[in-house]
């Protein structure tokens, strides 16, 4: 079971101090949060992607490669990478480089993004968001698995004899999670490819998430990737912890009341009752998090949102101490005790390499020398299969 934190990279005024951090301060703070995530014994750090103020994370691979360079064990990932407005070719390239630099400590989560103006900024149309996401991922999946790709689709210019470089580390693509809160097609695509499914299960009645995750599990089994129990599920959550329950509520309330999205809306107590938000003592956060497993089955990844709504760095680091010292060790123990032995861990680079190669050395392709046709060649690497021929367009 993996535990981690995810940040949306919002730069929000601290409603208690009245201060808004600069972009420079917030970027440094997020790096510190990620490093601390490893220091306190958590497994995963995830960053969102945005292209407008008040966020900073327009270039997640740059941020994550810096974090990976300054950590040893942490898996760096996204929440989410926009599979709609990013060219899937660029995603294939950028995350492959990140994966090499991080020595495989990388996966990514794909999402559509719900900020309408972002689509036209990148030449896309939000009304086509879903088919765009599905088609783009079909292409991304191939780019990471086939050395030479011929492809033609509806949304992107065709590719003939295209090789996405570098090939994934050890020729094993980063594991992919598909994030969705209400789209069965995304669950179907995750299931079809045997990828992970991440539900940031805030707002909705949990029954809907239970159905959607149930559907993903059922289709995962249908496509022959394992049993329903073996499907790879991740869940979101929000927490604010203090040693005493009443301190947690008192400290968090001003941030909750002013928070983006739900601030000035529901009362904190209602929101705690109706969503996965836990505000309280370590034991209360543990108890609430344990209910997720009862609703959704054994799952592989739990991410907490702890740094939004203007919470200052010092407070967030303190939250990480509490998560790492008091909450997560107990959750690990309790969840391990309850876990069905048939349920696998979330795939990591090491486990995927092992599954693909066993004890054999992994493939690390070496390019052929430039021979004039490398741009659209059908045999880019020394070990390329000469039988694979590129299909050029015909009139």
């Amino acid at each position: 079971m993996q535990f981690g934190v995810f940040s949306v990279s919002d730069i929000t005024r601290d409603p208690v101090s009245g201060e808004t951090p600069s972009e420079a301060e917030r970027i440094d703070a997020v790096v510190r949060i990620a490093q601390k995530t490893e220091e306190v014994g958590l497994d995963v750090f995830a960053i969102g992607e945005h292209h407008n103020p008040p966020f900073f994370s327009s270039s997640p691979t740059t941020l994550l490669s810096f974090i990976a360079a300054t950590t040893k064990r942490l898996i760096v990932t996204t929440a989410t990478t926009l599979i709609t407005t990013n060219d899937p070719v660029r995603i294939a390239e950028e995350y492959a480089v990140l994966q090499h630099l991080a020595k495989g400590r990388v996966d990514l989560m794909l999402g559509r993004g719900n900020t309408a103006p972002v689509y036209p900024w990148f030449g896309q149309d939000i009304r086509q968001g879903l088919p765009l996401a599905l088609e783009n991922y079909n292409l991304l999946h191939r780019l990471w698995r086939e050395d030479v790709v011929d492809w033609e689709g509806r949304f992107r210019t065709p590719l003939q004899g295209f090789t996405s470089i570098p090939r994934p580390l050890d020729d094993v693509p980063p594991f992919v999670w598909h994030g969705s809160i209400r789209t069965p097609e995304i669950a179907e695509q995750a299931a079809y490819y045997g990828d992970g499914f991440f539900a940031n299960h805030i707002f909705w009645p949990k029954e809907h998430f239970m159905r959607l995750i149930g559907f993903y599990r059922q289709r995962f089994a249908h496509y022959g990737h394992g049993t329903e129990k073996q499907a790879i599920v991740g869940l979101g959550g929000q927490a604010y912890i203090a040693r005493r329950s009443q301190d947690a509520i008192r400290e968090f309330r001003p941030y909750f009341d002013e928070a983006p999205v739900y601030g000035h809306g529901p009362a904190l107590e209602d929101f705690m009752r109706m969503t996965p938000l836990s505000v309280g003592s370590p034991q209360e956060v543990i108890d609430k998090t344990l209910t997720f497993r009862e609703h959704f089955g054994d799952y592989q990844r739990q991410l907490f949102l702890i740094d939004h709504a203007g919470l200052p760095l010092k407070t967030v680091l303190n939250q990480l101490d509490l998560l790492g010292e008091e909450v997560v060790p107990t959750l690990r123990k309790e969840l391990a005790a309850r876990r069905d032995p048939e349920v696998p861990d979330a795939p990591t680079h090491a486990s995927l390499v092992k599954a693909k190669y066993g004890d054999r050395p992994p493939r690390r392709p070496r390019p052929l020398a430039n021979r004039g046709d490398n741009v659209t060649g059908s045999a880019p690497y020394q070990d390329s299969d000469p039988a694979v021929r590129v299909v050029y367009p015909s009139a």
């Binding site: 509806r154 179907e188 159905r211 209602d270």
Partner: protein, 228 residues
């Protein structure tokens, strides 16, 4: 005219009146009582449930700004999902339906009320607002694909003493009852539910079927995107 077999119907009154007593609530109740009375004469039973939007005001705004549906709003949605007929009544403020009223219908799923028979009613301080019902409220209910009865009921202060208001209430009530009796909504839903657009979890949470036989599902499973 022959009546159908003895039936039990559920009528839901939605009122955005804020006074106590509220003239909007009084108008809605008159219509509801008239529907129940007519139904009873025709051998049917009507159970009426009132959704007083005043009590849901904070949950409605919360749903609008954060998509979080509170427990009372959830109950209102469930009641509307079960309703055979609806009376929707609002005061007119500043030449338009109350914001509370329109906000409530704007946070509902697009497919919650498909084909349901509705009487629209409004009260105002002046007859100059009388077209608000037909020119503004009807378009909202057209968007929701409801079956709004031909007669709308509008009451300015002078109408409360005018027998013509009763006539309009009677007309609207009969129109609603006939639509309810006809089983129009049920038949539309039974026979062409899939012809309307739905999202997973819409129709107040009841639309949870997943159609695997669609272009998008084929694309999700590695197929190619249909060209439009």
């Amino acid at each position: 005219m022959t009546t159908t077999d003895r039936q039990a119907y559920t009528l839901v009154v939605v009122t955005a009146g804020t006074g106590d007593p509220s003239s909007t609530r009084m108008l809605a109740d008159r219509i509801a009582q008239r529907v129940a009375g007519l139904a009873s004469r025709r051998g049917h039973e009507v159970a009426t449930q009132v959704i007083d939007l005043r009590a849901l005001a904070t949950e409605i705004t919360t749903a609008m700004v954060s998509r979080l549906v509170g427990p009372n709003l959830r109950q209102a949605v469930d009641a509307l999902a079960e309703a055979d007929g609806i009376v929707a009544a609002t005061p007119v403020y500043k030449a338009g339906a109350s914001g509370l009223f329109t906000s409530f219908f704007q946070v509902l799923d697009d497919d919650l009320l498909i084909a349901k028979p509705v009487v629209l009613a409004a009260t105002a301080g002046s007859a100059r607002h009388s077209l608000v019902v037909d020119e503004q409220m009807r378009s909202l209910f057209a968007y929701l694909r409801t079956a709004v009865v031909p007669t709308s009921v509008f009451a300015a202060p002078e109408d409360w003493g005018d027998p013509a208001l009763n006539t309009r209430v009677d007309r609207a009530a009969l129109e609603l009852l006939l639509l309810v009796e006809s089983g129009f909504a049920r038949q539309v839903r039974d026979e062409s539910w899939n012809g309307y657009r739905h999202e997973f979890g819409s129709a107040g949470g009841t639309e949870v079927s997943i159609d695997l036989d669609s272009d998008l599902m084929r694309l999700a499973a590695g197929g190619s995107a249909a060209r439009e």
